[in-house]
Amino acid sequence: MTGMQAMDAMTQQTPTIQHHRAGTAEPAAGSAAARSAATRSAATGPADQVLLAVDRISLRFGGVNALTDVSFDIRRGEIRAIIGPNGAGKTSMLNCINGFYHPTDGTITFKGERRAHMRPYVAARGGIARTFQNVALFRGMTTLDNIMTGRALRMRCGLWRQLVRVGPALREEIEHRQVVEEIIDFLQIQHIRKVPVGRLPYGLQKRVELGRALAMEPDLLLLDEPMAGMNVEEKEDMCRFVVEANRHFRTTVALIEHDIGVVMDLSDRVVVLEYGRKIADGTPAEVKGDPAVIKAYLGVAH
């Protein structure tokens, strides 16, 4: 695998994304395969090592079954897509993974540990980061401060040191600022560094939110429709950032996305949900050919 090939895979994404937006359902298997190979060679651990396994998860609210008996796994270093029509339970799935909801049945194994009930911040400590479908930034704070909050877990100085600030607290603050600046540079948001996020357009807010998640240096990054509501150019940028985050920061990614072109292009494997049940699981090409998927999803939504 050479850099040249990896680059080809990257540059090929752009046209295919637009292809799909334009409505032609041409599979982009070649580039996805090339990219997934790149990912594997880049990953630290063995390619097939399972980072997170979801085993027979069910989730009920009152009488409603949000998820029924769903199982799948996420391997270290891959980009895993979760797709499905509206109301398929995709977001509920993410909510279970990062501790917002506690599944009624089933288990979640993360880094080899079976988890009982846990709060979201415990999941965060374990290395799970998350972005939201509707941007969930801290509106009263600047871009810089928002991303700095992503470092909260890693900042150790106590109240007293922070009160005095000079000395260890300032040193620590600067250390983390450096990490955050790398992310700002990576996401090309230097010009909005000190702008309160409430004033930013939607596309940039999504970028800042991704930045905040990356600042946690997570092992697993959950992205809930990272490209929803973006124009083509913003989508391209976001795709690039996700791929780069996956490769450069060695982050395993699980994402929900409606744009099939993006999904087919970015992801190594796809799991398809419908009405809270898993109906398919496999590489983009496999899933694409699956009759159940075509019936449930491709035939309907797009």
Binding site: G3, A38, I184, D185, R247
Partner: protein, 656 residues
């Protein structure tokens, strides 16, 4: 001593000595400004030179510099020169084909690229560049997994260079001896000028060319090591090479590189440079920004602003004309300084400006006067790559927007019978690389260079430019038609971004207009005009009305000049798309390519001479990623108001 130095590496060593701890470069990255002193720069350049040598860089090798302004890219130029190499800065935004031509023509063996984007571009051209041996890059992001056999991170090169230096105790001496051996007539850089037509030409500039121009210019404007500039114009452009490298080395001033394209204005504000160069476009953007924002201000503030702008104009005009300013105006000007001028200069990062230059295009007198009246020492200069920029420039005590000033120190000027401006100076280039015939076309045997511009020297010895000599045409009626002159007048209106005028061999003038989306969009917003696209806004009848008023105003001013009265614009249209360098309609320096446009939009030109009405047009456009598409639209041709020339004897053109 500076006069003993024959090359930039030699000057760098001198500066490391004489300005050792003074800042040489600043670069904003990761949110803060990093500073390098001259001593540190010399050290980095030496390490880089050794690193390059380790990679096999030898005397006579070419290194292409591809990227935005960054200290390390500038250092690469000097490092290569210190080994007897030649730097070839390339426009970072050129598309792959353009770049392939330049890199191939210059036979570069090395490329110093900014980041992944540029590396990708270079790698995609690798097959077409047999001479290319190694590619270096500054910004490692995204490049980690690339094949690093012939691709090197600059950090690695520097480390290797330092290691090599350590291994070889005599290395430093050899290096310095090599620098001392560089002759002033050696080639320093190859700068490719895109020109308005044809393939780019490689302008060969020697150390002597660059250093003498830089020294003269520094003396002319009394620049020294305390000055600061912001480097933000393309590195491949002679202007940036002179301002951000040659003059900086000679004077010892500090060059600051902005963080990102989006932060240039903010970074300029933070640095507040003392020496500033910008094409009229930048000043135009500043002015438009100000006008748009002041329109949103409270009425009282708006009136205050306009009132003091008028005061400044009054005082400024009087002062520039050398007349006495009345006491009341002087007091008002003082008040205006507090309320308007200083705050605005502060906002624009111009508050410490000692000298600011504009060049490349004619600047609107309104705009020019505006900045000057605020106390910005804005001047014009006239220059070319072939002259190492300086041909003429405004002296501090005789600034006049109608002229481009007096010949720069060491420059001789003559006007030919045909009205073409020619010059001779120590800065005159060594020729076009591998194209002696094109060199001969432009340079006479006795060393005069043809500028291709038409103009004349006025009674004070100041040069006035009319247009490109070959573009100055004739109407069928015999009247002079200087399209650029007319276009510039049109473009001085903030709503008009570009204009293309036609009239040569025709019986009257016509114009195609590009509206300025920012200015017109703002107008639309304030007036409740709804539009979905540029195209829709451009076709809006009210927008046509605005432009029609401006065309009429231009016609009035043309009518006032007997030489130009005949060339008034009789019909105009507003183009349905923005002229774009990617479509070949503008040069990379954003000048309109009139003949290309005439060909591409031939149906519209015909329509302009047919009569008013609505015409269909479809054009091919190139998107940013290189794909092509069709943009079609309906374009309306309108009649413009014509002004009768002032009564008087038959007007005879004098200049031609």
């Amino acid at each position: 001593m500076l006069q003993d130095c024959r090359s930039f590496p030699a000057i760098l060593l001198l500066n490391a000595d004489r300005f050792a701890e003074r800042p040489a470069n600043r670069f904003k990255t990761r949110g803060i400004w990093h500073t390098w002193t001259w001593r540190e720069v010399a050290d980095e350049v030496r390490a880089l030179a050794f690193g390059l040598r380790e990679l096999g860089f030898r005397s006579g090798d070419r290194i292409a510099i591809v990227g935005r302004n960054r200290p390390r890219l500038y250092w690469a130029i000097t490092a290569a020169q210190s080994l007897g190499g030649v730097a070839v800065p390339v426009y970072h935004d050129s598309v792959a084909d353009e770049m392939a031509y330049v890199l191939g023509h210059a036979e570069v063996g090395f490329v110093m690229a900014e980041d992944q984007e540029q590396v990708d571009k270079i790698l995609s051209l690798a097959d077409r560049l047999p001479s290319l041996r190694h590619t270096l890059y500054d910004e490692p992001r995204g490049l980690r997994d690339y094949d690093h056999e012939r691709l090197h991170h600059l950090d690695t090169v520097l480390t290797n260079g330092r290691a090599a230096l350590e291994r070889d105790p005599a290395g430093d001496g050899t290096w310095r001896a090599g620098i001392a051996a560089i002759r002033s007539e050696d080639l320093a850089v190859l700068l490719y000028t895109s020109g308005t037509t044809g393939r780019p030409k490689g302008v060969m500039l020697t150390y002597q060319n660059l250093i003498s121009s830089a020294v003269n210019a520094n003396r002319f404007d009394r620049l020294d090591e305390t000055d600061e500039v912001v480097a933000y114009l393309p590195m491949a452009w002679i202007g940036d090479h002179i301002f951000s490298l040659a003059q900086s080395y000679c004077a010892g001033y500090c060059v600051c590189c902005p963080e990102a394209p989006d932060t240039i204005a903010q970074d300029r504000h933070e640095i507040a440079p003392t020496y500033f160069f910008a094409p009229p476009r930048i000043f135009e953007e500043m002015l438009t920004m100000m006008m748009v924002r002041i329109e949103d201000a409270m009425p009282i503030k708006r009136r205050m602003f306009h009132y003091f702008v008028a005061v400044a104009r009054r005082c400024g005009a009087a002062a520039d004309a050398g007349a006495a300013v009345p006491l009341t105006d002087r007091l008002l000007y003082g008040l205006g300084s507090i309320l308007v001028y200083r705050p605005i200069k502060n906002r624009l990062g111009l508050s410490r400006i000692k000298v600011a230059y504009t060049a490349g295009e004619a600047i609107g007198p309104e705009m020019f006067g505006f900045f000057r009246s605020f106390g910005v020492n804005l001047k014009q200069l006239y220059g070319q790559t072939e002259a190492c920029v300086y041909i003429t420039m405004h002296p501090d005590d005789a600034v006049d927007v109608e002229t481009v000033g007096i010949p720069a120190p060491g420059v001789d000027i003559r006007i030919t019978e045909q009205g073409e401006i020619q010059f001779r100076s120590p800065g005159v280039f060594a020729g076009y690389y591998k194209e002696p015939e094109r060199t001969d076309e432009i340079r006479t045997l006795d060393g005069w260079v043809k500028t291709g511009d038409a103009g004349y020297l006025d009674d004070r010895g100041h040069l006035r430019i009319i247009d490109r000599a070959k573009d100055v045409g004739r109407l069928t009626g015999g009247g002079l038609f200087a399209p650029k002159y007319i276009e510039n007048k049109l473009k001085f209106f903030p709503e008009i971004k570009e204009a293309v005028a036609f009239g040569h061999d025709r019986d009257h003038g016509v114009a195609m207009i590009n509206i300025d989306l920012a200015a017109v969009g703002n107008w639309a917003e304030r007036n409740g005009v709804i539009y979905a696209s540029y195209q829709e806004l451009a076709a809006h009848p009210q927008v046509y009305d605005i432009v029609a008023r401006h065309v009429a105003a231009v016609n009035r001013s043309l009518a006032a000049d007997p030489r130009m009265a005949a060339s008034q614009i009789r019909r105009f249209l507003i183009l349905h798309k923005e002229l774009d360098a990617d479509d070949g309609e503008l040069t990379r320096t954003q000048k309109v390519r009139r003949s290309f446009i005439a060909e591409r939009y031939a149906p519209l030109v015909d329509a302009l001479y047919t009569g008013p009405g609505v015409y269909e047009i479809a054009t091919e456009v190139v998107f940013e990623d290189g794909r092509k598409g069709l943009v079609s639209g309906r374009v309306q041709v309108r009649e413009a108001e014509i002004v009768a020339p002032p009564a008087g004897p038959a007007s005879v053109a004098r200049a031609a």
